[in-house]
């Protein structure tokens, strides 16, 4: 078990007043609330902050903790509660993020277990069932074809991991949740549900928005001006796309039904991006000069007074 530096977790001095501790806690709770924060370790941080506050907000517990800390412990160091320590002297009920389950072993060794059943040392009651949430990253290809993936999930105390093998249904989109009934926290048959929130790893080519897929397609100025049929990648394989003559950069062409599957399936939007070749040879330079003379076109005419 590690010693936890609750002051450091809240970012306050050991001499901080109760008001300052409360303010620090509230600010961090807002910042790391798992519904607000997108940081991957938000839930863990939120729990830590809640636990630190639980220990420091009560002057009695804080004084006891301070005495220990003055014994020279630092955060992260191995720790065992002194033999004369009497956790039964403390009582409290839950607090903070109840979905998150228990506090750390360190906290419990000092102040006992939370909840109404506490107080009987050495006897563990059946854990209450609660819902668990986790964020899982998958590739767009997984969502397109559907697949089976294995995830490591930290258990509610963050001290162990368990492995869950899950079918990823075809057509799932970022932000959607997969509910696995009876796979959440608790023990034995008394378990809550597990919610897996899906997010996509960034893709080299595609940018998803819901079921729609956006793809930037580089084209040459002559393909844009004269029109051309080109090969375009989609999640389901290459397709031929006709670029209409007179296209400009930023033009969006829709490939109906080529996005993520579903009812209705998403579309793929191809965003044209004109790329101009460098005038690297005298011939290329000559062509650009001839264009300048022949076309005599000023794209900035609207800017002129």
């Amino acid at each position: 078990m590690e010693f936890k530096d609750y002051y450091k977790i809240l970012g306050v001095n050991e001499s901080a007043g109760q008001d300052e501790i409360k303010r620090a806690y509230r600010k961090l709770a807002r910042r790391y609330h798992p519904d607000v924060s997108k940081e991957p370790d938000a839930e863990q941080r939120f729990k830590e902050v809640g636990e630190a506050y639980e220990a420091l907000k009560d002057p009695e517990k804080r004084a006891a903790y301070d005495r220990l800390k003055q014994g020279g412990y630092r955060g992260g160091e191995p720790f065992t509660a002194p033999p004369d320590w009497d956790e039964a002297g403390f009582s409290f009920h839950g607090g903070g993020f109840t979905d998150a389950g228990e506090f750390s072993d360190f906290f419990e060794s000092l102040f006992g277990r939370s909840g109404p059943e506490r107080g009987f040392r050495g006897y563990r009651f059946q854990e209450p069932a609660y819902d668990q949430r986790a964020r899982v990253s998958i590739d767009l290809e997984d969502a397109f074809h559907g697949t089976t993936r294995t995830f490591q999930l930290p258990d509610n105390t963050g001290s162990a991991v368990r492995t869950v093998k899950v079918n990823i249904p075809k057509g799932i989109t970022a932000g959607q949740q997969i509910r696995l009934a009876g796979q959440g926290g608790g023990s034995g048959k008394n378990r809550g549900d597990l919610y897996l929130e899906v997010e996509f790893r960034p893709h080299r080519l595609y940018h998803p928005e819901g079921r729609d897929i956006f793809l930037d397609l580089p084209i040459t100025p002559w393909e844009a001006a004269l029109g051309e049929t080109v090969k375009v990648p989609t999640l389901g394989g290459h397709v031929e796309l006709r670029i209409p003559p007179g296209s400009q950069s930023g033009r969006k062409l829709r490939l109906k039904g080529r996005g993520l599957p579903g009812s209705p399936p998403g579309d793929q939007y191809v965003v044209l991006k004109i790329v101009t070749p460098r005038a690297e040879t005298p011939e290329a330079e000559e062509i650009y000069r001839r264009m300048a003379e022949t076309m005599a076109w000023n794209p900035r005419h609207e800017m002129e007074a």
Binding site: I178, R179, P202, E209
Partner: protein, 104 residues
Amino acid sequence: MAVERKPLTGQVVDEVPVTLAELCSRCGVTAELVWEMVDEGVIEPMESADREWRFSGPCVWRVHTVVRLTRDLRVNLPGAALAVELIEERDTLRTRLRRNTLSR
């Protein structure tokens, strides 16, 4: 560790509409609180033929979030409703921003 089990098949939350009773049991809330949230405009029941309230999947997420925000951050219902709307807007903008910055 025995890992090679049959893979679990879940239910994609926001694809299946839920009844009022399901919404309550899944989010651990009372029907009164759901009614208050409908009143506040946090969630909206879907049109249904049989006059029974049904809610779309995103409503489940919203109720969950409102419950947690009110409990953990001590905001009231209108405050949590505002936060939920802003979180959703932020997420949409973030997706769009990522698309635009990656394509430059």
